[in-house]
Amino acid sequence: MIHAVKHHPALELLEQYIEASLAPELSLAIAAHLDLCPHCQRIKMDLEAEAGTALASLPEAQTADTDWQQMLDFITAQPEIAAKMEKRQPFALQIQNSEILLPASLKPLLQNKLKWFNLGGISTAKLAGEDQHNVSLLYIRKDSEVPQHTHLGLEITLVLKGKIYDESGCYGEGDLLINTPDHTHTPRTMSEDCLCLSVLTAPLKFKKGLTRLLNPLQHLFY
C-alpha cells in the first residue's frame, strides 16, 4: 500500500505516542496512521532511538544490592520464551458491501460483527471506547455531508478508503485530520464513498439548525 500521505500527526503528538502518554484511543489512530505512512514509521523509529539514548543516559536510581541480586536471580531462573517477530499485514474486511483493506492496528477491534447505525448518507459503527474516548468507523456515501460541528475535545479522523473534503482541503488514504475545539468543519465526500476511523476525546456538539437535534443521538452517531 503506497500512497502519498500528505497529512501527518505533529511531531509532538508522535513524541507523546512513542512514550505512551496519549490516551490509548488516540494512540490507536496514530498506530493505524503509521501502518499507512512510511514517513512516520521512520520518525517513530528515530524518536524511539532518541528515547532509548535518553534512558541509557539517566543517572542510576539507588536500590540495595541485595534487592537487585534477588531480582536478577529470579529473572535468570525463568525459561526463554520462543517469541517470533511478526510482519505487520493489512487485512481485508467486508464493509458496506465492499471488501476493504484495513491497517493491522485495527484488527483486534474488528473481531466481532459490526453494528452499523445509519443516518442519511452516513453510517457509523462503534469499535471501542468508554467515558470520554470514542473509537468508531465512519462510512460516508458519495456526495454526502457530515453536519457542521465543533468538538469539545480532540477529534482525529483517519481516512482508510476514498477521499474526504473539508474547508481546509482534501484528504486521501492514510491522511490524518486533527480538529481541536477551535475548529468548526463540514467534512464531505464527492464522487466516491469514504471510510474513516474516527476518534473523539469528548462528545461532539453540532452547530447548525435541525442538526442540533442530532446532539442527543451522538453517542450512537459517533
Binding site: 512514550e19 505512551a20 539514548t53 536510581a61 517469541a83 510482519k87 471501542a128
Partner: protein, 216 residues
C-alpha cells in the same frame, strides 16, 4: 562462564577490562557492545552477560519508572517486567533495526502501558503490542531530497535552529555549518552513525514543521 576461545566472547572480556560493568563509570551510549551482549544472551542464555546488562540498565530503568509512575513499587515492578522480557525474548532483538537501548526502551514503554491499562481494569482490546508495533513494516525508500528544500530556505530556517533539542542542534551544526561528514560527527561525538542520521532526520522534520506552522 566466558569461553576465551570464542572471538566474540573475547570482546566481552575486553569489555569487562574496560570497567564497563554497569558501574557509574560505564559509558551510557556504548551501544555496539550492549548489542553484542544481547546476542550472547539470545544465543547462549549467557547469565554472566545478562548480569552485566542488568547492572547497567536496571538502575536506569528504575529512574525512568520513578519519573513515569512517581512511586517506588510500580517503578520496580516495571523494571522487573522489562528486564524479564529482555531475558526471555532476547532472540527478538535485531541489531539491524536499532540499538539495544532503543529495544529496551520500547519494552519498558509497553510494560508501563499494560500496567496502566490493567490498573484501570480496562477491557484489553487495546494492548501495547498492537498499539506500538515493534516489527517490520513493508520496505520503504529513503528520500533525502527534503534536505535540499531546507537549504533553499536557510533564512527562514535560522530562527528555528536555536529551538532544536541540544543533541539535535549539535549534530546539525557540525553537519551543516562545519560541513562535516556524518561519519566524522559520529566519531567526534562518540555516538553511533545511525544516531547521527536519525538526529538529522528528526531535526529536519522539526524545522520543516516550524516553517509550515502559520503561528510561527
Amino acid at each position: 562462564m566466558l569461553d576465551p576461545t570464542s572471538v566474540q566472547r573475547h570482546d566481552v572480556s575486553n569489555y569487562q577490562r574496560l570497567g564497563i560493568q554497569g558501574s557509574m563509570s560505564a559509558q551510557p551510549t556504548d551501544n555496539a557492545q550492549w548489542e553484542q551482549v544481547l546476542t550472547f544472551i539470545a544465543v547462549d542464555r549467557d547469565k554472566h552477560a545478562y548480569s552485566q546488562l542488568f547492572s547497567y540498565f536496571a538502575p536506569r530503568l528504575k529512574a525512568f519508572g520513578l519519573k513515569m509512575f512517581g512511586n517506588e513499587q510500580q517503578a520496580m515492578e516495571m523494571v522487573q517486567d522489562t528486564m524479564l522480557n529482555v531475558w526471555q525474548k532476547a532472540r527478538l532483538f535485531d541489531a539491524s533495526r536499532g540499538c539495544a537501548s532503543t529495544w529496551i526502551f520500547t519494552i519498558a514503554r509497553n510494560v508501563r502501558f499494560d500496567m496502566l491499562r490493567k490498573k484501570q481494569s480496562r477491557k484489553d482490546e487495546l494492548s501495547a503490542d498492537d498499539l506500538f508495533f515493534d516489527g517490520d513494516y513493508p520496505e520503504q525508500e529513503g528520500t533525502d531530497s527534503n534536505e535540499w528544500d531546507l537549504w533553499l530556505m536557510a533564512e527562514k530556517v535560522a530562527p528555528h535552529f536555536a529551538k532544536l533539542p541540544a543533541a539535535q542542534r549539535d549534530v546539525m551544526e557540525k553537519v551543516y555549518l562545519e560541513e562535516k561528514s556524518h561519519q566524522e560527527v559520529s566519531e567526534e561525538l562518540s555516538i553511533p552513525l545511525g544516531t547521527v542520521k536519525s538526529r538529522i532526520r528528526l531535526a529536519l522534520d522539526r524545522l520543516r514543521e516550524a516553517i509550515d506552522d502559520p503561528r510561527s
